[in-house]
């Protein structure tokens, strides 16, 4: 690591302020990101992003967001999908200048900027934004992936239906265009394709109240056949996306919610129900 080298040289030369700056950005956990913006540090904040190679230096999202307050170009020194994860997790709104800085970065940074800006109307995205989105939701933890999918949906980002289906990727079902409909779900249920049906109900175009009784029966069938973890995960994810978890909640799903570390992804009332269900270990 270059941090010890920077510390030794800079402190020997008397640049304690600069040394502290580097310690802060390279060891954010230890230093809590405190550094004084002296004249020397200001110089570095202004000019380093222009002379350093983005592909060689990467800092955690927390660091680049702090540095971006002084110079938005620092946002480029973070892995874009990690930055996206941090932004959605902490509900951060990037400024116009910060988005513009991202737009001047590589294709992934540009894709991130586009995802955050969104569209006026539902728009089917092309590469490289679709690649970035698929990659991000795969790499991020479930709790964050759900938020990314929600953000993408709210920002009118849509993905070609065929692309979502061919990847059989439940996380992006809500973004499918043309959307997956109630009819599609009912067809799947009648074919006993429960796993797919449970994933499809994430689509906002599916009439939840129409399919709910069928979903419950399918769930009972699944119980008799012994549980399929993937199918349950699909149902949990869809119910969370649709904000209808209480409608389908069982002890098994509550346990899955807990195991997957999904706390914070639904409303407090539903979470209280989940908590009680876990404590009692009985059916709702």
């Amino acid at each position: 690591m270059e941090k010890s080298l920077l510390r030794v040289v800079l402190e020997e030369l008397g640049y304690y302020d600069v040394s502290k700056f580097f310690s802060a950005i390279m060891e954010p956990e230890e230093s809590m990101l405190t550094f004084e913006v002296t004249e020397n540090v200001r110089k570095l904040l202004d000019k380093l992003p222009d002379v350093l190679d983005v592909s060689e230096y990467r800092f955690p999202p927390k660091v680049v967001l702090q540095l971006a307050k002084h110079n938005p170009k620092w946002l480029l020194f973070c892995v874009p999908h990690s930055l996206l994860g941090f932004i959605v997790e902490h509900d951060i709104q990037l400024t116009q200048q910060e988005l513009e800085a991202l737009e001047k970065g590589d294709s992934e940074a540009q894709a991130l900027a586009q995802l955050l800006r969104g569209y006026e109307q539902p728009t089917v995205i092309q590469k490289p934004l679709s690649d970035f989105l698929f990659y991000a939701v795969r790499r991020l933890i479930s709790r964050i992936s759900l938020r990314v999918a929600r953000l993408a949906y709210e920002n009118n980002v849509r993905v070609m239906n065929s692309l979502v289906q061919s990847y059989s990727y439940r996380l992006l079902i809500p973004l499918a265009e043309p959307p997956i409909t109630t009819k599609d779900v009912l067809r799947m249920l009648s074919k006993n394709s429960i796993k797919t049906a449970f994933a499809y109900v994430a689509s906002p175009s599916v009439d939840w109240d129409v399919v709910l009784p069928r979903l419950k029966r399918a769930y009972e069938r699944l119980e008799r056949l012994s549980y399929s973890v993937d199918a349950l995960k699909n149902l949990l994810w869809s119910a969370l996306f649709r904000n209808r978890l209480q409608d389908v909640l069982t002890v098994r799903l509550a346990e899955m919610y807990n195991c997957e570390g999904l706390w914070g992804t639904t409303d407090p009332v539903t979470e209280e129900v989940i908590r009680r269900m876990l404590e009692k270990g009985g059916e709702k």
């Binding site: 510390r7 020997e12 640049y15 380093l48």
Partner: protein
Amino acid sequence: MKLLKTTLELLGENEIAAFFNTLEREEDIQEYLKNERIVKLVSNPNLPTALDIAWFSLRSVELVLKLVRYNRNWLDVSRWRSDVLRHLILNAEMIDPKTLAELRWSSHNQFRVIASIISKDFSRVKEDEVACILLDCKEDFAANYRITLKLVRLAREANVRVPRTHFEDSVFVALVEPPVTTQEVLEELSKNALKTAFAHVASSAVEWDIVLPRLKRAYERLQSSGTYTEDYKTEAMNRLLCSAIIRNKLREVLEFAPQLAERYDKLKLWGSTDLATEEVVRRVHKGTLTED
């Protein structure tokens, strides 16, 4: 290193940035060492450690030793420390006292011991440590007679003594305690243990003038008898050559064993003895080549 250099340039420390650039390219840093701040930097024991952590390493032995003069920890960034050790032994007379003083405090015990031998100051090493390191060197440099001979010579000059057990079969026999005696060599010769006898005459406790006629006869037997394999002959000749060099009696041996001049050349021993003797070796070697 790039972040450091860029930062230094942005801070206006262009000369120091250029120093690190030159260091990275392993070019001559002498000019930079006129700058007091750079000297202060290279003297900081934490700098080589930090560079080492940053995966930086130097291939140039000369550059490492130039830096070691300021701070022994620069050895840590040497990519091939065995090359530095070799250079140190072969150029012992040229190493300045400040470098040796730094090396005597090194955390690497091979360097600590070798620097102690060269400077004849054993205050920083334990008695057993010297024998252990010489044993390592004996194994590491087994195929390099020039370096082994030089090391034995340095150790002898520094009055180093090593236990006999592990060194009897090599040129290090010159350093063993208790020493090999004339009587032992004569017995070995009478038993026709030529390889052992030839090695053992390296011991300064062996009276050269007494054993010389016997060595001569033994050498003639070695050359004329059909009972010795080529490998045995070569090894015996190598041992006699090394012993003669250590005892400074090569010219006497060359008189009855001119083939050793060829071995001297083959083993790349040039520089292992005085200039006058080397001139004789050169002539004898030329003569044997002409005869061939």
